[in-house]
């Protein structure tokens, strides 16, 4: 899922993220929306989701415009934004088969049956 992808970096690199995604097979799933859970993903100062990298990845997947160019100011109460974020991070574009490509070294990491191999 794209939430996991946002954390991934090619091992042994300094800036090997975000990994480019080459999709062969993907699916969209449904998962329960919880606004507090989703809000925490972009909460400052403990934010872990790299929003810029997420937007870049979405553009690569042909999903431009799914999310606004920046996290809105009062995101905690912005349900429309949170639902869109939840959908992107947890539901849409779950890659079943494909490849992740390191932007720094070009190294390719396969994804098979939804499981990336990052060795």
């Amino acid at each position: 899922q794209l939430l996991t992808h946002n954390m991934l970096m090619a091992p042994g690199t300094k800036n090997g993220f975000p990994l480019a995604i080459e999709v062969e097979k993907m699916e969209t799933v449904e998962s329960e929306f919880r606004s507090e859970f989703t809000a925490r993903m972009v909460q400052k100062p403990v934010t872990q989701v790299e929003y810029g990298a997420l937007l870049q990845t979405l553009a690569g997947l042909g999903m431009d415009g799914t999310l606004p160019p920046a996290v809105p100011d009062s995101y905690e109460s912005n349900e429309e934004f949170l639902r869109a974020l939840h959908h992107v991070l947890m539901e849409a574009r779950r890659v079943i088969d494909g490849t992740l490509v390191c932007p720094e070294t070009g190294k390719r990491f396969p994804i098979k049956d939804g499981i990336p191999s990052m060795l």
């Binding site: 899922q1 970096m9 859970f37 060795l119």
Partner: protein, 226 residues
């Protein structure tokens, strides 16, 4: 894991470090994954306690997730957990059977950005790492992927065990002593995979050096433990 019949790990084997872990940890787990999953489904209480203490929405890295047995506790606590393990067979079980977001990776070279997780779990992994330097590297890598203020739980078997713990009223002083259960500091512990185990793979068993013992109706593998 009650270590029965364990033997000292030969020094030359111990010196091979990564090769030792490849042969006597990764390949063995790949070969025994299904029986392992069938017999290790209960998450340890203190680990579950730790998981439950984490705030909702925390990003948790299960480093060495095995069969994904912590996935249910993480989900129940409203956490976003990502598991990784270097046994691809175990990762497959974690993803399919335990519905964990999981990937194949090396705990000494994690595929995660610096400071990307709120919490990390390293359960029963350290004792499969074969040198002080590598164990230190595992701890460093774990801390690298934690954000400032993040927490990690490391759980490993200890050579020294508390005296009198399993002998209530035996009058022990409660101090630590070196247990006699382990033959040495680094050991090979046998694992018996019953012949009746479903989903066995002759290929994986051969790669892991399994030895069939007809009287026990099982194939025996040697797991490395520190």
């Amino acid at each position: 894991m009650p270590p029965k019949d364990n033997v000292e790990c030969p020094a030359s084997l111990l010196a091979s470090q990564a090769a030792l872990e490849e042969q006597h940890v990764r390949r063995v787990y790949d070969a025994i994954a299904w029986q392992w999953h069938g017999t290790r489904y209960k998450a340890w209480p203190r680990v579950v306690e730790f998981v439950r203490s984490l705030p909702h929405g925390s990003l948790v890295a299960d480093l060495g997730c095995g069969n994904g047995k912590l996935a249910p506790a993480c989900a129940e606590s409203g956490l976003a957990a990502v598991g990784c393990d270097f046994s691809s067979e175990l990762v497959r079980i974690a993803a399919r059977e335990m519905r964990m977001e999981a990937l194949v990776a090396d705990c000494l070279a994690l595929p995660y950005r610096d400071a990307s997780f709120d919490a990390a779990l390293s359960i029963a992994v350290l004792h499969h790492i074969s040198s002080v330097e590598r164990r230190r590297a595992l701890v460093s890598e774990t801390m690298r992927v934690l954000r400032a203020g993040g927490v990690a739980l490391f759980y490993a078997w200890a050579l020294e065990q508390q005296e009198g713990v399993s002998n209530h009223g035996a009058g022990g002083s409660g101090g630590l002593r070196r247990t006699k259960r382990f033959a040495a500091r680094d050991v090979l512990v046998p694992f018996h995979q019953r012949d009746s185990t479903p989903r066995r793979s002759a290929e994986l068993e051969a790669a892991a050096g399994g030895v069939h013992v007809p009287d026990k109706r099982a194939t025996v593998f040697q797991r490395y433990c520190h």
